[in-house]
C-alpha cells in the first residue's frame, strides 16, 4: 500500500517536471545588483545581491528574474544573474516543493500580459482614428517649443552634420 503511494507521487512528479523545473533552478549573481519588489527598474528595493552570491530562480518575466537569496527575495535583472543548470537533486527538490505547496510561483513563468510589437502584430494592426486624433491633440507649435527650451536654459549652437567616414 505504501509502495503504491510512493509510485503515485513519482509518477505525478514526472508529469509535472517540465512545468516546474524553472522553479527549482539555481543561479549565481554575475554582478552586484538591486533586488526589487516588482519586475520594473523603478520598483521598490527589497535587498541586494553581491557578486557570486548563490540564489534560487523562481520565475521569469521579460527581462527580469524572480529570485530568492538567503536574505531577501524579489526581482533582479536577468543579465545580473548567471543561470546554472539545475541538478537532478534540485529538480526533485522542486517536485517536493510543489508537493508540499512550497513553490507557488510557477505561474509567473507563463505571464503574457505584456504587449509586444512583432511583425505579425504590426501587419495585422487596424487603423485607430481615436488614437491618431489624441496623438495630434498633443502637438505643439515651433514657438511653444522655443518657450520650453528657454525655460530649461537650452541654447542652440551652430554645428554641421557629422560627416560619413
Amino acid at each position: 500500500m505504501k509502495k503504491h503511494k510512493i509510485l503515485l507521487l513519482i509518477l505525478t512528479a514526472i508529469l509535472f517536471l517540465p512545468l516546474i523545473s524553472p522553479a527549482a533552478e539555481t543561479g549565481s549573481a554575475l554582478k552586484a545588483d538591486i533586488i526589487r519588489k516588482e519586475p520594473f527598474s523603478d520598483a521598490k528595493k527589497t535587498g541586494d545581491i553581491t557578486r557570486g552570491e548563490q540564489l534560487q530562480i523562481l520565475g521569469k518575466k521579460g527581462a527580469w528574474l524572480n529570485i530568492k537569496t538567503a536574505k531577501a527575495s524579489g526581482w533582479v535583472r536577468l543579465l545580473s544573474v548567471k543561470r546554472g543548470a539545475s541538478s537532478g537533486s534540485n529538480q526533485i527538490k522542486g517536485v517536493l516543493d510543489v508537493a508540499s505547496g512550497r513553490a507557488g510561483t510557477g505561474k509567473v513563468v507563463a505571464t503574457t500580459g505584456v504587449r509586444g510589437l512583432n511583425e505579425e502584430e504590426l501587419k495585422n494592426a487596424k487603423f485607430n482614428e481615436v488614437e491618431v486624433k489624441k496623438l495630434e491633440s498633443f502637438t505643439i507649435t515651433s514657438q511653444q517649443a522655443q518657450q520650453f527650451a528657454k525655460s530649461g536654459g537650452l541654447k542652440t549652437i551652430k554645428f554641421n552634420y557629422l560627416p560619413e567616414l
Binding site: F40, S41, D42, G62, A63, L78, L79, V114, R115, G116, L117, N118, E119, E121, L122, K123, N124, A125, K126, F127, N128, E129, E131, V132, K134, L135, E136, F138, T139, I140, T141, S142, Q144, A145, Q146, F148, A149, G152, G153, L154, K155, T156, I157, K158, F159, N160, Y161, L162, P163, E164, L165
Partner: protein, 290 residues
C-alpha cells in the same frame, strides 16, 4: 458603371440598420460631391475618373502627411498611446524643439509614447514619431530622449521610409496594379503602405541607420543638449540580451548597437570636444508613473 455603383450603395443602404444607414447617407453625399469635383477637374485629364492624382514621385508635404497619418493610425491600432497626458506633452515639447533644428521645421511634428514593453521607436513620413514605453524606461534624462527622437526625426527629414513606399508604388505602377484609380486617395495609400503598419517592421539600409545616428547626435547638440544622449541609450540597449523578446524587432531591423556605437565613434572623432555647456536636464526629465 457609375449608375451601378449608386445602385449598389442604395441596395446596401436599404439593408443597413437605421443608425448605419445614416452614416451611409453621409458617405453617399461624399461620393456625389467627389464625383462632381471629379467631373470638373478631369476635363483636362483625359479619361481619368479621379478627383486628383496622388503625386507619388514628389509628394507635397500635405500628401506626405496623409500617408504618414494612415500608417500612424495603423501603428496606434497595434499599440495605443500611454494614458498619461503629461508624458505625451513632454515628449512633444522635447521632440518639437529638436525637430526645429532640422531642415523640416515646417512639418507639424507629432510625438507619442505607446503602450508596449518592447524597446523600439518608429518614424513615419509627414513628421509622426512614436517611441515605446519600454524604450522610454531605458532613458535617464532629457538629453537621451532628445537623442532618440533626433534619430527618428532624421529618418523623416531624409525621407527614408517614404523612399521605400515610393519604390514599391512605382513597382506596382509598372505591374499595372494601380495605373487605374481604384477609389479614394486613402484607399490607394492603403494599397501602397500594405497591411497595417508593416512598413514599421521593415529594415532600412544599414547606411540609413548610421546616417540617422550621425544626424541624431548633430540635432541633439544643436538643440543645446549634451550630445552624447543617443550613444548612451545605444550602450544601454546593447546590454540587453540578444535573445530577449523586447529587442527582437529592433535588433532584426537595425545594426547591433555595438556596431552603431563604433560607427558613431568614428564619425564623431574630436568634433564634439569643443561643445561646452550641453545640458542633460535630469531634473526636468519626466518619470513614468508605472
Amino acid at each position: 458603371m457609375r449608375a451601378l455603383y449608386f445602385f449598389l450603395i442604395f441596395i446596401f443602404a436599404s439593408f443597413m440598420p437605421q443608425a448605419q444607414a445614416l452614416d451611409f447617407g453621409e458617405a453617399l453625399k461624399d461620393v456625389v460631391k467627389e464625383t462632381a469635383q471629379g467631373v470638373t477637374s478631369s476635363t483636362n485629364a483625359t479619361g481619368s475618373e479621379s478627383k486628383k492624382v496622388f503625386n507619388w514621385k514628389s509628394p507635397s508635404p500635405q500628401e506626405e502627411i496623409q500617408i504618414g497619418r494612415e500608417i500612424t493610425g495603423n501603428l496606434l491600432g497595434a499599440a495605443p498611446l500611454v494614458k498619461d497626458e503629461a508624458l505625451q506633452k513632454y515628449v512633444n515639447q522635447v521632440g518639437r524643439w529638436v525637430a526645429n533644428q532640422s531642415e523640416r521645421s515646417d512639418l507639424p511634428w507629432h510625438f507619442g509614447v505607446i503602450e508596449s514593453e518592447d524597446i523600439n521607436a518608429f518614424a513615419v513620413p509627414g513628421g509622426y514619431v512614436v517611441i515605446t514605453k519600454g524604450l522610454y524606461r531605458k532613458l535617464e534624462n532629457e538629453a537621451q530622449l532628445a537623442g532618440v527622437l533626433s534619430h527618428e526625426i532624421d529618418h523623416v527629414v531624409r525621407s527614408h521610409h517614404l523612399k521605400i513606399l515610393q519604390k514599391s508604388q512605382l513597382l506596382d505602377l509598372g505591374a499595372g496594379l494601380i495605373n487605374k484609380q481604384i477609389g479614394k486617395d486613402n484607399q490607394i495609400i492603403q494599397k501602397v503602405i500594405g497591411s497595417g503598419a508593416e512598413i514599421c517592421a521593415r529594415s532600412l539600409d544599414k547606411s540609413a541607420e548610421f546616417e540617422a545616428d550621425r544626424m541624431g547626435v548633430t540635432l541633439t547638440a544643436r538643440a543645446g543638449y549634451e550630445p552624447y544622449g543617443l550613444p548612451e541609450v545605444l550602450q544601454a540597449i546593447g546590454q540587453t540580451g540578444k535573445n530577449e523578446s523586447s529587442v527582437a524587432l529592433l535588433f532584426k531591423t537595425h545594426p547591433h548597437p555595438d556596431d552603431r556605437l563604433l560607427k558613431l565613434d568614428e564619425a564623431i572623432g574630436n568634433r564634439l570636444d569643443n561643445i561646452k555647456g550641453g545640458k542633460t536636464l535630469n531634473n526636468r526629465f519626466y518619470k513614468l508613473k508605472n
